[in-house]
Every structure is written in C-alpha cells, then in structure tokens.
Symmetry: C2
C-alpha cells in the first residue's frame, strides 16, 4: 500500500517547526494533480501560516489547540468564482451558481485535499482534517474574505508531528464494500461488523468516562446531537445560498 495511505493517522499535537515555503508549494502542487471535473479546477486553497490568521481561524474550529499549534492551516474551498470570472471576461455566460456545481466543485476540492494530505505525510508532516469547517462556514467566509461563489468545505492543518498515535481502527472492509449492487445489512451483520470496535479497550474507557451504556449513544448524545446537527445543517445551507450556489 502507498506508504502515507497505510500509515495515515490524524495528528493533533505539533512541533512549532515551520514548513519550508518550497516544500509547502510542492505539497500544494500535489493537490492540483488530482482529477478535476472538466479540468476546471473549481477550488481554492487558502493557506494561513501567520500566527494572526491561525488565531483568527481557531474559534471557527471550536478552539481546538492544533489550529494555532500547527504552522499551516489550509482551508479548502469549492470555488466557482474564478472560473465564472474568466468566462465573463470572455463573453461566455456561466450558470454554475446552483447545487450541481456546489457538489461538482466539492468533489474537485476534496480530491485535491486528499492529495495534499498524502503528499504532506510523504514528507514527514502530519495532518488533521477539521470537520468543524462546515459548522462555522459563515464565520470562515468572513475571516478569510471569501467572495460569492466560494464556500469552505474542509480544512487541513499540517505540521511536524509531536505525537505518534496508533492507527485508528476501521470497520472490516466488508462493512463498506458491496458486490455488484447494494447489499442491505441484517441486524446480525451490523452486530458482527461492529463487534471488535465495541469490545475494544478504547470503547470500554469511553463508556466509563461518558457514563453511557454503549458507543452508539456516545455518538448521538455527546458528539453529534440532534440539536447541533439540525442547527449546523440549516446554517451551512444558508451559507450555500448566501454564497450563490443555490440560484435554481
């Protein structure tokens, strides 16, 4: 397996060693080699390395310490603005301001982001993907000055790791792979697929700390509650409309 793929773990503690600009450029260039729909490159990468900008972004990521600790924060944005501006300058009328192009641009963005993550790891850096990006997209738009036609989709922090956590466990491959068509799960299959994770020491410790009877309830009652899910959902959809991706 490609070494950075096999050894990927999310890094949450970083040394303060900066990333050399030439290396950072090579890592970002790896992003541009990813597949992109129609070769339109409908994404932008906002690379924040100054202490001021990382501090300004930190609250957008619930003040997780790695945002200010890691020397590089890359906000990966779906971007129909640049392509649209080029079209208009050429007398062509783009109509990309709709949901299909949000999804297409997000596909471009995320394939580029994964290349960047792997290339960073190939050079000895660690990365972490910040799922908080979509929860506070309205604030990120302001902090980074994103114009209409640009919306943040995910964020990578990168830097030299100050920890080496174990590989994260995953469900068995059979949990996510379906042969020919979708194979729906029997209750017994669900039990089997989650058995190892539910029996792990890590889960036992989580149950103790959270005082809950099973792992699923930690997800639904502590980590991702219904109220949060709905609030974040409506907010991100509002940002999508405000940034001009839903004129349909």
């Amino acid at each position: 397996m490609i070494e950075p793929i096999a050894n990927h773990r999310s890094i949450r503690k970083y040394k303060d060693t900066p990333v050399a600009p030439a290396l950072l450029d090579e890592i970002l260039a790896a992003g541009t080699r990813a597949s992109t729909i129609g070769n339109m490159q409908l994404y932008s990468l906002v690379v924040s390395t100054s202490a001021e900008m990382r501090a300004a972004l930190a609250p957008c990521h619930f003040n997780q310490p790695m945002v200010t600790q890691a020397p590089v924060v890359i906000t990966c944005c779906a971007d129909i603005h640049r392509f649209g501006q080029w079209c208009r300058q050429r007398g062509a009328e783009p109509q990309y301001d709709n949901f299909a192009w949000f999804v297409s641009a997000a596909i471009d963005t995320l394939m580029a982001a994964e290349n960047i993550a792997l290339e960073a790891e190939a050079h000895g850096l660690g990365i972490c993907v910040l799922g908080t990006t979509i929860y506070t997209a309205d604030r990120i738009v302001e902090v980074l000055g994103l114009p209409k036609g640009v919306i943040p989709v995910t964020t990578l922090v990168a830097g030299y790791p100050a920890e080496q956590p174990p590989l994260t466990d995953r469900l068995p491959l059979a949990a996510v792979v379906h042969s020919e068509t979708y194979h729906d799960y029997t209750p017994e299959e669900i039990d089997t697929l989650w058995a190892a994770r539910e029996a792990s020491d890590e889960t036992r410790e989580l149950l103790r700390v959270n005082d809950l009877p099973n792992l699923a309830r930690i997800f639904t009652e502590r980590r991702y509650t219904a109220a949060d899910n709905l609030a974040f959902s409506r907010k991100y959809f509002d940002v999508l409309k405000a940034q001009g991706f839903f004129n349909q």
Copy 2:
C-alpha cells in the same frame, strides 16, 4: 512527489484484463485508511465487475464506452444508513438525515475515493472519475438498489490502461492558492493565469472543431450549458431529499 499523484492521468481506454480480487481488495482497503469524520466511515463502495451490471450502469454515464470496457466500476456513495441502523439497534437515535451530514458523508466518501484512485494507479491500473454520477443519481439509486440514507456522489472506473495520454495541463499553482486570506483576481490576473492554456495547440484545435471564438464559450455553450446545469441541479437535489438527507 508521490508517484501516482505526479503521474495521474484520466484513462478512457482499457484492456479487458480483469483485476484480481485480492488486488481489488487491497485497493479498496486503501480507501478505508483515509480520514473519516468521527471515524464513522459514512460511505459505501458499490463495486460492479459483472458485464451485466456495468452494462446497466453505462446509460447512467451517458454510455461512455469506458464503463463497459473497464473491468471495475466503483460507485462511491455517501451512506448514513449503515451507521443509523447500528445506532437504532443500540437504542440510540441518530439524526443524520440532514444537509450537514450529506456534506460530511460526502467528505468521507471523496477522501476514500481519492485513496482508491491512487492505490489503483500504484498497482499499474488506470482510473477515471465520472462526473456524470450526480446527473443521473436517480437512475443509479434504482440500478444499484440504494436504500434511503445512501446517495451516489462519484464513480471510479478502473482497469489496465490501453492508452497513455499526456499529463493534463493545469492552471499555474498561483491560480488556486491564496496566502492568508482570499485574494480576489484582477481581470489582468485572470488573463495571465489562463494565457498558456488559451494559447495551446489543444485549445486551437477545440476552437476549430467547435467553431467558437474562445475556450470559455466551449465550456458554457457545449460542455456545460445553463439548461443542463439547472436540470441536473434540481434533479440531484430531489434525489437528496428522496434519499432522506434533507429532513430539516
């Protein structure tokens, strides 16, 4: 640069050599090593290798020959169904049936997909990403039997290449990278960023064949028309609702 990243090109012609099942499993396993929000793995990979299923999927991709020619078609789906079923079996009430979780699950899906693409290429296979997936998601749902909570986001075809096209040109790195905050483009910058592509032999040939005065109008008048964009947009959003990702 990681070799499969540096040498990636979309392959549209394939040998009929099958991909060995053990190799295919290793490639799919690479997908599961990608970052996934909260380690929930909110995606499913429907792997179609039979001639029948690839023929059934071909119209969903506008009958591009590679769908039946390539021995492996992987429909990469955002999936909140499996995780939700696990939660409900444990007496936990998931509320993931909303837009935020569509986006989060799509992030998981696409990072896994990019790993799969690179791992396939590392083993000498070629791949192509099919942007058509979101245009015909309603049909794909039927063909693959996707339950509520599952929606196709992208598709990879994979197989041994029968062509070696040149690397695709990209805009200069400066086109997609912004330092600290978003740097909006002056008209002159847009001209400069696109200059090399607009002056290429490939573009000259496209203008001749399409009988249009510039490349931008090929995009807006031939490849991605306003009428198509809006129709696909509404359709994919309808599928999103029908599959239970918009109960907000």
